[in-house]
């Protein structure tokens, strides 16, 4: 007589990922997703803005898949007027860095629109000028978001795998979003409306 584990395994051994899924996660497809994904970003800028997007990628795949510098088009909205700008990507060690240079009046804000890939993914890590990447620290069973000199206890808010809140850095109020687990997480920021 079969055990319950054997019954269960037999049932789910018959389930296989469709072959088309393999094609969708090939390195070439991953590169396509990475190139076309941008996260919304709103920052206050000075007279001449250089917006830097810092993207963490793996060593081996990065070298294999990217090669030289490339340029992608992104939409930029200034005072409600939409225009197109070039984002230049290049490799710096373990990172891909994307740069947009755009001249705007002092004190204005720039919003770089979401650009999603064909599957709706819009997830890329980035840094904004003056805002370093946040990290999580666990102390005495509490989980803290640490950004520069600021530390926020997100333990309760993070129990479902996502925490959001507000944090002030250098006089600017940011909204942070943390997703994942204490060991494996993503942190993103937007300037608070």
């Amino acid at each position: 007589m079969k055990t319950n584990k054997e019954i269960y395994k037999n049932a789910f051994d018959e389930v296989h990922a469709p072959a088309e899924l393999f094609g969708k996660v090939e390195v070439s497809q991953m590169e396509h997703v990475k190139r076309r994904s941008f996260k919304g970003l709103r920052i206050a800028v000075s007279a001449f803005a250089a917006l830097l997007f810092l993207v963490v990628v793996s060593n081996g795949i990065c070298y294999a898949a990217t090669g030289d510098t490339w340029i992608t088009k992104v939409k930029v909205i200034i005072d409600g007027k939409e225009t197109e700008a070039d984002m230049t990507w290049h490799q710096e060690g373990d990172y891909m860095v994307g740069t947009i240079e755009y001249e705007v009046p002092e004190g204005r804000e720039i919003f770089v629109c979401d650009e999603e890939d064909v599957d709706g993914n819009s997830e890329i890590e980035y840094n904004t000028p003056g805002l370093t990447e946040g990290r999580l620290e666990v102390e005495n069973d509490r989980i803290y978001l640490v950004v520069e000199d600021s530390k926020v206890d997100i333990t309760e808010d993070f129990t479902d795998g996502e925490a959001t809140g507000s944090i002030e850095l250098a006089g600017v109020q940011y909204v942070y979003t943390v997703t994942g687990t204490a060991e494996d997480y993503d942190v993103s920021f937007d300037v608070e409306e």
């Binding site: 018959e14 090939e26 494996d184």
Partner: protein, 175 residues
């Protein structure tokens, strides 16, 4: 991580990630998304794995988190109809196997899968990780970021519900 190593992991663990995603979402399309996002995370982060078990646990944990993130939109789409649930077990195998060139047959497995898919979400994943991936309740608790006592409770309730649905197919077990 080299391209070769990435592709090896995809080939080795695709089915595992797909089954976990299905057990959580009950939706093939959502499972597709979970699988793609999971491997995109692998591609992007390229963790420094210590051994194969580390790879497996990492992928399962990321897949569960991705599935959790999708869950809200899943409900909004109102696709969780009773009719779909009842057909889910057969459809899951039918589509995947049809694409892979395997002739479908209605088996005991279809009955078991349907019963599993009818379980509430919080029981389904625990049951799958226990019976298919053969993780202990302690390991499942670590993967799901839950208390072990919670996992034990969910496993016990999942077993009871499965026994109620599968009757003579499913054996009585000591808790």
């Amino acid at each position: 991580m080299t391209e070769h190593e990435y592709n090896r992991i995809v080939k080795t663990y695709m089915d595992i990630v797909y089954r976990v995603a299905l057990s959580y979402t009950k939706s093939r399309q959502d499972a597709y998304d979970v699988v793609q996002n999971t491997f995109f995370n692998l591609y992007r982060k390229a963790p420094d794995f210590t051994d194969e078990e580390h790879v497996r646990k990492w992928l399962i944990r990321v897949a569960v988190n991705e599935a959790k993130n999708l869950w809200g939109s899943f409900w909004k789409r109102n696709v969780d109809s009773l009719h779909q649930l009842l057909e889910q077990g057969a459809e899951i195998v039918h589509e995947g196997n049809a694409q892979n060139g395997i002739e479908e047959q209605l088996t005991e497995g279809n009955v078991v899968r349907t019963a599993v898919m009818e379980l509430p979400k919080k029981y389904r994943v625990v049951v799958h990780l226990y019976y298919y991936e053969e993780y202990s309740t302690k390991e499942i608790a670590e993967l799901l970021q839950e208390r072990e006592s919670t996992v034990r409770t969910r496993l016990a309730r999942g077993r009871t519900l499965l026994k109620g649905r599968l009757k003579e197919v499913w054996l009585d077990e000591d808790e």
